[in-house]
Every structure is written in structure tokens, then in C-alpha cells.
Symmetry: C2
Subunit: 263 residues, 2 copies
DNA sequence: CGATCTGTTGACACTGCTCAATAGGAGTGG
DNA sequence: CCACTCCTATTGAGCAGTGTCAACAGATCG
């Protein structure tokens, strides 16, 4: 069925998956690769920005056949850990994740934040084991896409192959942008860029670009941006004083996007 | 158009190829796919660490058929520029490159250094245009691999498909390591890690791991590591004083690898 | 409703940046 | 071949942006 490895608590929580299916879809009997013929990609709100993007209906239905099922991950739980054998990619259907790299020596670092419509796990291909931990920032649901099946389908469906390559490439570009941020930008610029990035991603998904809730802590943000949590906090306060935004704990309201961008 | 000579002695003669293309021109005018039938991958010194890795002889020969040819790039010239339409991946046959990201605002940043056996250009897939400049650090030669042909072949040859995916993934992992370095490490740790990384890559390629010439300037190194060129210079001097290495301009001799690693 | 996690703010120290002066090397042209 | 220039590297001095440490306040959750 799903990844055969067990969670840290020793049990893979089948129940929570069944519950997920209960919302409007038939639950898949445990123990088999679930692939009910009713299209799921075609009815998914994220179909236009995830792996299924730019596929025709027939192709999307075939992609459905390699989606093994859904997996629900509660806030704070790990979808996978660094060192776990790599088997599947995960398309986030609902919720959000952070990925955490833990070098042998030194502090662990947040390497990315991902939300519904994003796919994660691509870092695991090259070593056949995951390179980071993926931790849910809120209760989340992912589509489990066994990689060998996806590869097989990519050998048949050219647009899917291209889409997969684009996803790999987009992750490379995203990271190289982040490297630029970490190399040259001041703390203020980093925080501003981060907020604008989150804003743009909410906008893409049809949510408000100016009013949103950050799902991660100041420490997570600081780790991602290469500054301390105190600096993140101070910078947000400063932006608020300057009238660029209002901040109330995790709730952010952006007031002057242009001014933020000018940082 | 392309130099059709074979490598009789296993030593690649840069000179004879460099006359084949005019400086900086894309050697791939439409329709002119030059692919002489004499195997090149199978005789290439880099075949075990490049795209051809883990292919059987027959498969490698087929890969040869999609390699459009070689292109020579003189020191300081650009193989491609940010914004150029993406058509091909480039496997470095000889020489080395740096990739430079130029954000709309802010300083340009070195996002990577690449040497013989590495492939570059994967950042271009997602937008169908290159995301950075690739600049030769010395006179270099690359294999030009048109991406649509490579994709077509990947639909037929499973190990090649897997190899391509691993290369994408390895680039993601490399960048996420670099992000960790840029997020948490002190200037000394960055320089030490950089030297050890270069050392390991020379070793992989059969060169000395302790004595080598850096092909890039202090400014390039600083940009890559997110510190100033002065800090790079000072740190190298300090390491020399401490007996960890000797440095003479671009020539480095590592004396105490363990001590460097302990930083 | 207490315990714990998360966020805010202040004071101070320190790493690494900026600016500057100088020296060494590489390439060019006479 | 040498002189000239430009690029690169080294080293110093002073300063500023962030990190560190600490105290406290506000959330969150069992």
C-alpha cells in the first residue's frame, strides 16, 4: 500500500487516510494501490499548478492511475525524513510543509516552504533516499506518486515528461534565487522578499495577496532567510512602524507592496 | 561543420575544435545536426561521471546520436546568457564554467562552479529560457545535447531517463547544501568547505586532491560563498599561517584536510 | 489554568563589510 | 624584450549590521 516504512511512532496511520477519502470520494480499500476510475486530478483544485498542469483530460486520467492514493499528515508530523528510502513524489493537495536539511555538523536549516499545488520529494531521486525532512506546518494531505510508475508514464506521455522536467528545473531555479538572496541581501531585504514571495504564491492560488496567515514560526523564517528569529521579529516590527504592513503574531496584512519591493 | 576527427590518443585537443565555431555563436543553426557515427561518449574520459554514466555500450552509442556536436568556449566567453532561449543541455568535456545569476536589482551572484564531467543548462527547462549566464573559467569544450532529442531518447531508454532525473535531483541537492552553507556557516567555515568541495571533485576526476589551481578569482569565490573578496583573501592567509594549506595566488596546496574539515 | 512554546524588545559584542593603500601578475603594444 | 596598463590579490583600520544573551509578554494547548 503506502510507503511501507513506519512513522516514528511505529505505526502508519491508515485511519487518517481513510478519513480523507470520506470527503466525497470512495475510500480505497486498504492494502491495494488505490486507483478508482473516478478522476481525482480532474476535480482537484490544484490541477492547474501541480503535476497535472497542461495535460489533456485523457492524460490526466492516466496520471490518476499512477497516483497511489492520498496521505494525511498532521501538523508537526513528518511526511518523510532525511535518509528514508526514496520511492514517491508527493503533490500537496491541502496544507503546507517545510523541508529541513540537517548537516552532519551545524544547525539544521529550512530549505523551503511548500503549499498546496507544490510537489516535494524530488531531492530524493539522486541518492535514492530523501535528503531532508518534510514537516507539515498544518494538517495536510498529499497525493502519493510512486516515482517508478511516474517515470514509466513519462515514457509514454510526452507532455507529462516535459511537465516533470519543468518541475525539477523550477526547483533548481527557486533554489538559485534563494542562494542569491542569502548571498547579497540585507536582513530587511530578505524579510521583504520573503513576504512578497508568500504573497505572490497566495495570489496564484486565488487567495488574498495582502492578507494572510504565516504558518511557520519566526525561527523557521529566520532559518530559511539565514538570519536569527530576533532579526525577523525586529524587522517585521520596523516595517509595521513604517506603515508597510501590520503584523499580529502570525497574521500579516501587507499595506504597501511597492515599498516592500523597493527594499 | 564539426570536427569529425576521432580521439586516437584519448587526449582531447582543444585547439582543433576551437576553430570549428566562431566565438560565442550558437553552433546549432536549425536543421544541421552533426553527429558523426564514430562513438564519442564511449571514448570520452568523462563518460563515467556525466550523462552517459551507467549506460551500456549500445545505449551510450544511442546517446551519441543525440549529441549534436561539440562547442568550444574561450576563457571569459559565455556559453549562454540569462534569457537566451533554452534548447540544449551542455556536458562539459574539458575546462570549467561559472554560472552567474543577475537579479533585476542587486549584485550578480555566482550560483555554481562546474568542471569537466558536469552538465549545465538544466535551469533553462522550466521557463524555456536560461536563468543564468554560463561563463568559461578557462578555454573549454562542451557536448551540445538538444533537449527535445534527449527527452525523446529518455522515453525509450529507461536507464538514460533515470540518469537524467538523477542529474536534475543532484543539482537540487547541491543547491540545498549551498543554501545551508550560506545560512549558517562562518566565513572561515565557508572557505574551508569550498576548498574541500573542490578538492573532492578533483579527486573524483583522478587529479590531486591536495594540490590544484583555482580557476576563479577571489571575487568569484566570495560571491559564491556570500562573503567579500577581502574576507576570502584574509581567510586563506589565515589558514596558511595556521599551516592548514599554502596559497600562492591561484595555486593551492592543502596540508591538513582534517583540520579544514573540523572548521 | 498552569506549563510550555512563541514572539517582542533591549543592551552589547563581534564578525565581516567598506574604504583605502599597495603590491603582484598577466596581457598588450611598441 | 621592456614598459605600461589593467586586473587581481593582500593587508590594515574603522565601522555597522546582526548575532547573542536576557528579560518578559503573549499564545496555545492539554
Amino acid at each position: 500500500m503506502f510507503d511501507s516504512r513506519t512513522e516514528s511512532d511505529g505505526v502508519y496511520d491508515v485511519q487518517s487516510v481513510s478519513v480523507t477519502f470520506a470527503r466525497g470520494e470512495d475510500p480505497t480499500p486498504a492494502g491495494q494501490v488505490s486507483c478508482d476510475s473516478r478522476a481525482r486530478c480532474t476535480s482537484c483544485m490544484m490541477r492547474n499548478i501541480c503535476m497535472a498542469a497542461s495535460l489533456e483530460a485523457g492524460e490526466m486520467a492516466r496520471l490518476d492511475t499512477v497516483v497511489q492514493g492520498w496521505r494525511s499528515v498532521k501538523q508537526g508530523e513528518r511526511l518523510y525524513r532525511a535518509g528514508d528510502p526514496f520511492r514517491s513524489l508527493y503533490a500537496i493537495r491541502a496544507g503546507s510543509f517545510k523541508t529541513v536539511v540537517s548537516p552532519e555538523r551545524g544547525k539544521e536549516t529550512i530549505s523551503g516552504f511548500y503549499m498546496a499545488g507544490d510537489s516535494i520529494g524530488m531531492d530524493g531521486v539522486c541518492q535514492e533516499s530523501h535528503n531532508c525532512d518534510a514537516i507539515a506546518l498544518e494538517d495536510s494531505v498529499v497525493c502519493v506518486i510512486p516515482f517508478h510508475l511516474l517515470e514509466a508514464l513519462c515514457r509514454e506521455i510526452k507532455p507529462l515528461q516535459r511537465q516533470l522536467h519543468k518541475m525539477f528545473s523550477a526547483e533548481i531555479v527557486r533554489e538559485s534565487r534563494q542562494m542569491t538572496l542569502l548571498s547579497n541581501m540585507s536582513a530587511e531585504q530578505r524579510v521583504a522578499a520573503f513576504l512578497l514571495n508568500v504573497s505572490a504564491r497566495y495570489r496564484e492560488r486565488g487567495y488574498s495577496a495582502t492578507s494572510f496567515v504565516l504558518r511557520m514560526t519566526r525561527e523557521d523564517i529566520g532559518s530559511f532567510l539565514g538570519v536569527t528569529l530576533e532579526t525577523v521579529s525586529r524587522t517585521l516590527s520596523k516595517f509595521q512602524q513604517e506603515g508597510l504592513l501590520t503584523v499580529q503574531g502570525k497574521s500579516i496584512e501587507l499595506i504597501n507592496l511597492d515599498a516592500l519591493d523597493a527594499r
